[in-house]
């Protein structure tokens, strides 16, 4: 989220044309800031201004007054619904603008309350997707507490990838969605699953879900169904699905031959990378961690 605006001085300017009238103060351009942070900054400053937010869902306007959001509009909505719609956006720009001030406030909920609601809605939307338990990165506390329900789902590449990650994947040629499931999923943005740029998650009410952990840590997350079909995919391709499906079968047979218990997981180390495959019920999950990722927590979790 990029932010542009001017520090006009707390309490110095009031009135509907205030935002554009002042020429004093700093202008700023921030990259990587989350919308929720910017809203909190604006409320902390107790400014009186309208702000244009351009995000993946279009254009919206937030009206700030005395530390609260008092009005919001988007193309389709107005009031609190519009504010929640805007707060769900994860990428875009944020800049002050001149807008006609509403005759009366349409939002009574505090800005903290709105952000919490937005976070809750985001979580609820993502709850329906496939969940896999594997460890989050950098979460302090007891060993068992480090494992959270993390989302393994298709993600909108433009939404979740940092430029570096995108370059790495492009270099690997890994982003190739061939199956109909993958194609459809790739077109469907799932804002609940924030990416490496997910400052929203880190700072918001859903920070505990650590959704950005796997997205940032794994170049590939692929789930195969019992018949080998790609159920969900991010970063993988058809060739990897075939490789994993066959290898999984060979490992199953080897275990049976040696009289071992059921296959549960494998970590493969390659000359230039690693791959983890594990059974999740009838399905098989494949992860390709990025080279810099510390794998110990995941190994511990999978018994590798």
């Amino acid at each position: 989220m990029q932010a542009r605006g001017k520090n006009e001085g707390r309490g110095e300017v009031t009135g509907s044309a205030a935002a554009g009238a002042s020429v004093r103060g700093f202008s700023a351009q921030l990259r990587g800031a989350s919308l929720w942070d910017l809203v909190q900054m604006e409320c902390l400053a107790r400014s009186h201004r309208s702000v244009q937010v351009v995000g993946e869902g279009g254009v919206g306007y937030l009206y700030f007054d005395r530390g609260q959001i008092v009005h919001a509009t988007t193309a389709q909505r107005s009031g609190e619904a519009a504010a929640l719609e805007i707060l769900d956006w994860t990428n875009g720009s944020f800049q002050s603008c001149e807008r006609p001030w509403p005759t009366q406030a349409t939002i009574r909920t505090s800005h903290e309350g709105l952000i919490l609601q937005a976070a809750q809605l985001r979580d609820e939307r993502s709850a329906g997707s496939n969940l896999v338990a594997f460890p989050a990165r950098g979460v302090a506390g007891d060993e068992l507490d480090r494992y959270e329900e993390l989302e393994l789902t298709e993600l909108d590449e433009t939404e979740v990838e940092t430029e570096a990650a995108a370059e790495a994947e492009a270099a690997e040629g890994a982003i190739e969605m061939r199956s109909p499931v993958s194609d459809e999923s790739a077109r469907t943005p799932k804002p609940g699953a924030n990416g490496t740029n997910g400052a929203n998650s880190a700072n918001g009410a859903n920070a505990g879900r650590a959704e950005l952990g796997p997205v940032g840590d794994f170049a590939v997350m692929m789930r195969l169904g019992p018949n080998g079909a790609v159920v969900s995919n991010r970063g993988g391709n058809e060739e990897l699905a075939e490789t994993v499906a066959y290898s999984h079968r060979l490992l199953q047979l080897t275990g049976e031959l040696l009289g071992f218990e059921k296959f549960s997981a494998v970590e493969c180390g390659f000359v230039d990378g690693r791959c983890i495959v594990f059974s999740d019920g009838d399905e098989v999950v494949t992860l390709r961690p990025r080279p810099e990722v510390n794998m110990q927590a995941l190994r511990d979790r999978l018994g590798l």
Binding site: G255, F260, D272
Partner: protein, 172 residues
């Protein structure tokens, strides 16, 4: 390579495998060449040679599968409940280590690297000079009994059972 040389080579590899048992939790290990020949084992007799050879052959195929998609397998850790297999790819074959229960994984990785390095020349030589394994032919099945001739309803002018017919006519 003569038979005696092959035995000596296998014994040398087995000696190296025995050092892996310095680590607690190691049930045993075995080595297969890329062609699927079991050249050495240091594992309880519970696991028969044929079983180990077949398991090794499948595990090698996993490496080949990943190699086909551009990933050269260096090692793998496979989990089966309480048991684990540690696989170490070496030139000409694969070292397979069976782990039962808890093991110091960093120590195992280092031990596997050292043993792999030590046995690699012998494994490479075995792969190059020993003939590929001969698999036992399946037991001969008794020849199937001839099926009784189909009894066709006799029709006027029908040819004898041994006669051949073409477009309704009897031909020689």
């Amino acid at each position: 390579m003569t038979g005696q040389e092959a035995v000596a080579l296998g014994e040398g590899v087995r000696t190296s495998l025995a050092t892996l048992k310095d680590l607690s939790g190691i049930a045993g290990s075995f080595v297969c060449t890329t062609s699927g020949r079991l050249i050495a084992r240091e594992i309880p007799a519970l696991f028969e040679d044929a079983v180990l050879a077949e398991a090794g052959s499948r595990l090698l195929r996993i490496g080949e599968t990943f190699a086909a998609s551009g990933d050269a397998l260096e090692f793998a850790v496979v989990r089966y409940g309480e048991n684990r297999l540690y696989l170490k790819a070496i030139a000409g074959g694969m070292l397979c280590i069976v782990v039962a229960g808890e093991v110091n994984m960093p120590a195992l990785r280092m031990a596997a690297n050292l043993v792999g390095r030590r046995i690699a020349p012998a494994v490479g030589r075995a792969q190059a000079e020993l003939p590929p394994p001969t698999f036992e032919a399946p037991p001969q099945r008794p020849a199937p009994l001839p099926l009784p001739p189909a009894v066709a309803p006799s029709a006027p002018g029908a040819a004898a059972p041994t006669a051949r017919r073409f477009r309704g006519r009897t031909v020689d």
